[in-house]
Symmetry: D2
Subunit: 230 residues, 4 copies
């Protein structure tokens, strides 16, 4: 097992929000890049499949797919191939997001395909127990997101801090080096700071940034919290 | 109901073949475009999601997605949004391919999302009865592909001509203007000619072109058959 | 195509309600049987899989499965085989209920397996268009249930009568003999009467009976409405 | 965590084999019961849903469902409710069989529903890594079955002994008391003996018994191997 990288990591998931589709995916990524360059904080973006190539061509941030399918090259019409995502310029992929869950055995397959295509992996789970279980399959990062808080504006790190500490403990008992992110409801620098304080090594965030009236300001607030913490 | 367009149509599905992934998707599309311009035959290409944007930017052919999900803009991580496909430059989408089937009610939803995003639709079905059923949901085109012949090299128009004639009859009894394609095993101009003769108004083809040693020659053979027929 | 039977038909779906699980499935079926015998109205019951055998052994009503899988005898752990349902005493099966939808091509397969196992079929659809589409696959009965009214207590026959008339028209244009049921929100004899008046030939009902404080009274109310209509 | 029970356990999965459907499920269970009583070996049977009740009524063996759905009592037409399986007389349930896999988060939910309904759980996995992952969710038993050997007649304990030893090691590093079964290709007493020798505490078997010309003899052969081992 390798450690993905050491510093705190912010991963911004564009989901299928219109505010982050097509040209707006590129523009939002450029705003985020400015903050990353200003503050030196490591940030990744996860646009929709059709936008990966143009985003990867226009910004220096690591780009993540939101999902890949557990398929090999061949006759799989309409599926998302690890190699295709990689060829478009992605550095990694999210897997098993609560909005795009996978069968357990497909998680192992998809992780293997991702590794073979040289993609970093962020495997998601909704509970501490499942986060530990998925860590046994050795993704590069694991993201805890209690589904009931996703998109709620109530941050997991404030509302349910024990989920993070419990997850960190359970994950570390089976995997010493997977990078641990947390997410759900994160919308302020305070939320990010609280998450890092509880043992998370980064955050996964979506609507808190994408649906904000000034996304750049929110990301700046997040990055200042990271700087303050480190 | 509107008629998509009058002339015979060749739709080339790139599936997740490595031969048609990334740069090779662009190159293959450019080869196909040369034949289309030379012969005046209407051809569409269906690359993987991540390649739609670059293909649409580089060739004048209509580009189709291989699938869209029945979702609206919002919190649908890892899904394929009609608007995203459209923003990347696609003119249409395949739906319910036998390698990416949909629940019946999702077909109706996806067709509606496609229409709202101004995408042409090619709904696939494996039997004459299902082709008629799906035609009631009013896609722009319907494609009959008996799953057992897909990728077989044995052309539906030669091996099972009665499936095409039966499909045409059943479809026309419920929908007078949906464009009728057929596919599965098509690999020569003769196969294409036979399909048109049986009442198909175009073909859907994948490995017959993508896995050919000289795809451009195969497409030229197809187009000559179309010219001979018209 | 054969006509299932001529008279109006009430099909009572037990879903996974505890009020209709195990012994209570048998007791509820016996109450319903008393009303059926008293009034001469044709009623079917659809208990959970595990209850089919004991219900079929204890009452003379036709028993329906709530679903079958599109599988053949063999290595399909955890699936519901048509022959198994039949061997337990079922006379028919519901298919594609909005709570257990099927891929389009699986509907055709499951209908065929059901016919081969001599099971009557009730195929469900949520819209008039889909009801017509599914009728092309020739189930014995089709049930229109707008998902938004299921379990609502607001009857489709009162709230959205045009869905029933439109469905009847669209279905009859492609299939002259499939028996047409409607459902969603049906909870009084008035609702049943209205449904029959609009052209439905029966109703599919669940919570309106199963969750009622006196199911027997509700079923009696339904049956009186049928008698009044016929 | 509790230990399910101490002695070796044979679980016989009837799948959807016609040889074990309806009356033949009862007869096969009675044959198996005779061997269990003769030899004192603990054996469970897993018939189809529709047969659970009659099998449980006729034999004293613990009966397992082949699957339950992660649903609660309510509006879940066509689903398999833990309480229903329990009410029919089942003592437990298989979960996540390779022929009926579950999304990771549904495994956790289904395990919880099973526990609440007082059902023993046998969670299946195809690899050592996944077997360990699923053990973190604390089923009563875990069954390793490499999918490529299922139904092959080539026993996992003979063909791939290292999968069993590796699984036992990985599972025990995260869960000290889950009972470990193995399966796939088991068809002789030798296969059973080899499995127990490698650290398995029981076997999961299907075609090796159900499709045998004399199932009773095969089960007797298995039981003698257990007796020899213990």
């Amino acid at each position: 097992m390798r450690k993905a990288f050491a510093e705190p990591f912010l991963l911004i998931n564009f989901k299928t929000y219109l505010e982050a589709t097509g040209k707006r995916a590129v523009e939002l990524s450029q705003e985020i890049e400015r903050v990353a360059l200003d503050t030196g904080v490591k940030i990744g973006v996860a646009p929709q499949f059709c936008d990966i190539e143009q985003v990867a061509n226009r910004v220096s941030l690591p780009v993540f797919a939101q999902h890949i399918d557990p398929v090999t090259p061949g006759a799989f019409t309409g599926h998302v191939l690890a190699e295709s995502v990689r060829a478009a310029g992605a550095a990694g992929t999210i897997l098993n997001h609560s909005e795009r869950t996978l069968h357990l055995h497909d998680i192992e397959k998809a992780l293997q395909h991702a590794r073979e295509a040289d993609l970093l992996t962020v495997a998601c789970a909704g509970t501490a127990k499942l986060a530990a279980a998925i860590s046994l399959a050795e993704p590069d990062m694991v993201a805890i997101e209690p589904p009931e808080l996703i998109g709620s504006g109530r941050a997991v790190s404030k509302e349910r801090p024990e989920i993070i500490t419990d997850s960190v403990r359970k994950i570390r008992s089976v995997n010493s080096c997977v990078k641990i992110l947390c997410g759900a409801g994160i919308s302020t620098g305070e939320d990010v700071y609280a998450a890092l304080k509880l043992g998370a090594e980064g955050v996964l965030v979506a609507s808190g940034v994408v649906k904000a009236s000034k996304p750049e300001d929110v990301v700046m607030d997040f990055c200042k919290a990271v700087r303050r913490y480190v």
